[in-house]
Structures are given as C-alpha cells and as structure tokens.
Symmetry: C2
Subunit: 195 residues, 2 copies
DNA sequence: GTACAATGAACCGCGGTTCAGTCATGCGCG
DNA sequence: CGCGCATGACTGAACCGCGGTTCATTGTAC
C-alpha cells in the first residue's frame, strides 16, 4: 500500500460522493466511509475539505488536457482536429458518469472552478482549443474575421452546454451522437466559404 | 411600505450579497443588514435561505424571458431575431453586474439551477430560443439537418460561456461588443448556403 | 385597545477538524 | 532466531465554532 494509493483512493471516493450528493451536502465522513478509511485519515492527505475538491479537479483536468492534446496532435488538418476534439470531449465525459456530474454541476461552485485555484488548468484547455483555431486561420481554412478568443469560447460553450444538458437529463441518450452536429455547426460557422 | 416592498428589498439585497461573497459564504444576517432589516424579518418573507435563492432566480429569470420574448417578437425575420436575442442576452447582463455575477457563477450551485426548482424558468428560455430556430427552419432560412434542440444548446452555450468569461475576467471589456461575432458564427453555422 | 409587522438575542444541530490512543511494521540486540 | 521497542500510519470519538432558525418581546398603525 503505497502512499499515493490512499491519496487516489480518497480522490476517487470523493468523485462518487460529490456526484451523488453535491459538494456542500457531502460530509467528510461520507468520503471517508466511501474510501474505506477513517475521517481523520483524510487529513493526513488533504489540508481541508476544499482542498479535496481543488486537488481532484486539478488532477482530473490536467489528465484531460494531456489526453486531448496528444490525441488531436495526430490529426493533420484543423478541421479534423476540431472534430476529434469535440468527439473526445464528449467521450471523456461519457466514459465516467460520476466525473461528468462533478465537472458539469458541482465544480461550478462559487469561485472554485474558473476562478481560483483551477484557473490554470481551465485556461490550458482554452489555450489548446485556441491554438487549433489559430493554426486553422494561418492555414487559410478558418476565417480571419472571427477573433480566436471569441471562437474558442463559442466552441467550448457549445460543448459544455451539450454536456450539462446531458448530465442533467440523466444521461438518457448517447452524448457522442451529438458530436458531429455540434462540430458541423461550429465548423460551418468559422470555415471560409467553399472549403 | 407595502408588503411587496420588503420582499423586493430583500431580493435585491440578496443579489448584491451573493454577488459579493457567494451563496454559501453569505449568512442570512448579511442579507438582513444589506436590506436594512432584522434577520428574523427575512423569515416573514422567505421560508428558508434556499428559498431566497430559488425565489430570486425565478423572479429574475421570468422577467428576463418575458423581456426577451416581447423584444424579439417585433423582429420579423429569424436571422434578425437571433441577432436581437444575442444582443439582449448580453445587454441584460451588462446592465446589472451583480445579477450577472449571481446568474453566471453563484446560481450554478449543485442542483439548484438547471435542475430543481428553477428548471421550469430555464426551459422556458430554451423553448423561446428553440421556437425562433424552428420558425427559421420552417421559413427555409435555417438548415433542416441540424436538430433544433442541438442548435438551441449550441447557441445558449456560446452566449453563456461568453458571459461567464466576461464576469470572471472582471468585466474588463464590453460584452455587447462580442454579440455580433457570436451571432455571426452561429448564424453562418445554421443558415442554408447562400442566404 | 387590538392586531400584526418587526426585532434580535439566544438556541441548537451540524459537521469540519483535532488529537490522544491503537495498531502494524520493521529493526536491533541478546 | 525471537523478543521487545521505536516509528509512524491510522483511527474515530469528542470538540467547538458557525450560522440558520425561532420566538418572546417591542413598536406601530388604525
């Protein structure tokens, strides 16, 4: 039983508990029970309850960005990269329902998500999207009259809302099925006419 | 001093307090002080602290939807309606920074926003957007191969993300300036070729 | 004088955090 | 080899501050 075992064990338990009850309605003792440790043990690995949420988000988000980055790198043209990005975004959430619930609903709490400690990881994802769009503009595939930072937010916002609706609607359909439609609308919106 | 005076007074105070500190970091006594009443008075008008948040959201959102609905009704063609909708969405938030903060950041808490008591008001807005897009399809202006419920979420998500970024970035620029770009990307995405 | 709005100090349950004690592991020494 | 002893992870009951809620009292309008 390596140290990182317990750390990870607690993180994974926290994801499930937060997904079930929400952050503020979860007590530390709930996470402890779910992880199969005593509540005091939590404090050997995390400074505070908040720290669990922040750490969980940082680790999950960092892994996410790394995963997406390496997967879209292999796609040669910008259009394919965007399609792949959307598909991966949805696929990641669909693969882990508890994580999806936490990311889409619970992590938006107050100042903890975009602002605060996780800001760095979030902006890394934004920058990843932005770099794809910039490359597309440089290649003459995407129109230059749409500011990249606007297009980035439009794409992220579209994916994010699709995901949120899917989570809140109790995941009754396959999120991935909508990936093409979302990518198509966006691409049609930013591509130069006749490409 | 009509009864509804105090009710409204408390709601407006709550908006400012929640905007400043976040929902969970605001105590009822803070709202009371801001409203200029005693903390016990709050409970003559609201059942619980949660009730304040839910009521505030319902009232604000209902007014929002009504306002947008009547304003876009005068625009005759679907494209103009969409442009107007985006402009109004941003304008409403820009006019009331405290409300914007609460709507974009604080109200996303746990199950209180899209799920739960406010679900009805949110879906009213979604249906409003959806009806515009449907009319556009019927008129042959918008493409029929994009499902309306997907396009609705794409548009809402795009606007919502723009707004969230603007709020989190401390409102350093004019949100309204981005309205055209957002509307243009979306419209280009859903309009039939050559319209 | 009656009714009812408003007050705000005090209550009380909740739950994050602590810490004194238990247990397991491995190491040195006879 | 085996027997304690030191080390440090782990435990979980108890503590304690916080803040939502209540309600006996006061103020006011008619």
């Amino acid at each position: 039983m390596r140290e990182s075992d317990k750390h990870q064990q607690i993180i994974e338990a926290a994801v499930r508990v937060f997904a079930r009850n929400g952050y503020y309605n979860s007590r530390v003792s709930d996470i402890a029970r779910e992880a199969g440790v005593a509540s005091g043990t939590i404090y050997l690995y995390f400074k505070t309850k908040d720290d669990i949420l922040v750490t969980l988000f940082r680790e999950k988000m960092a892994a996410w960005v790394a995963h997406v980055r390496e997967r879209i790198a292999v796609e040669p043209d910008p259009v394919a990269k965007v399609r792949r990005l959307v598909a991966l975004h949805f696929d990641t959430l669909e693969r882990d329902p508890a994580l999806a619930e936490v990311v889409q609903v619970e992590l938006r709490q107050g100042h903890k998500f975009f602002r605060g400690a996780s800001a760095h990881e979030v902006s890394a994802y934004f920058e990843l999207i932005g770099s794809v769009l910039e490359a597309g503009q440089a290649a003459g595939v995407f129109r230059g009259d749409v500011p990249v930072n606007v297009a980035t937010k439009v794409l992220f916002g579209a994916m994010d809302q699709m995901a949120t609706s899917w989570v809140l609607g109790k995941r009754k359909y396959r999120l991935t099925d909508a990936a093409d439609a979302v990518a198509t609308v966006f691409l049609r919106g930013v591509t130069v006419d006749g490409a």
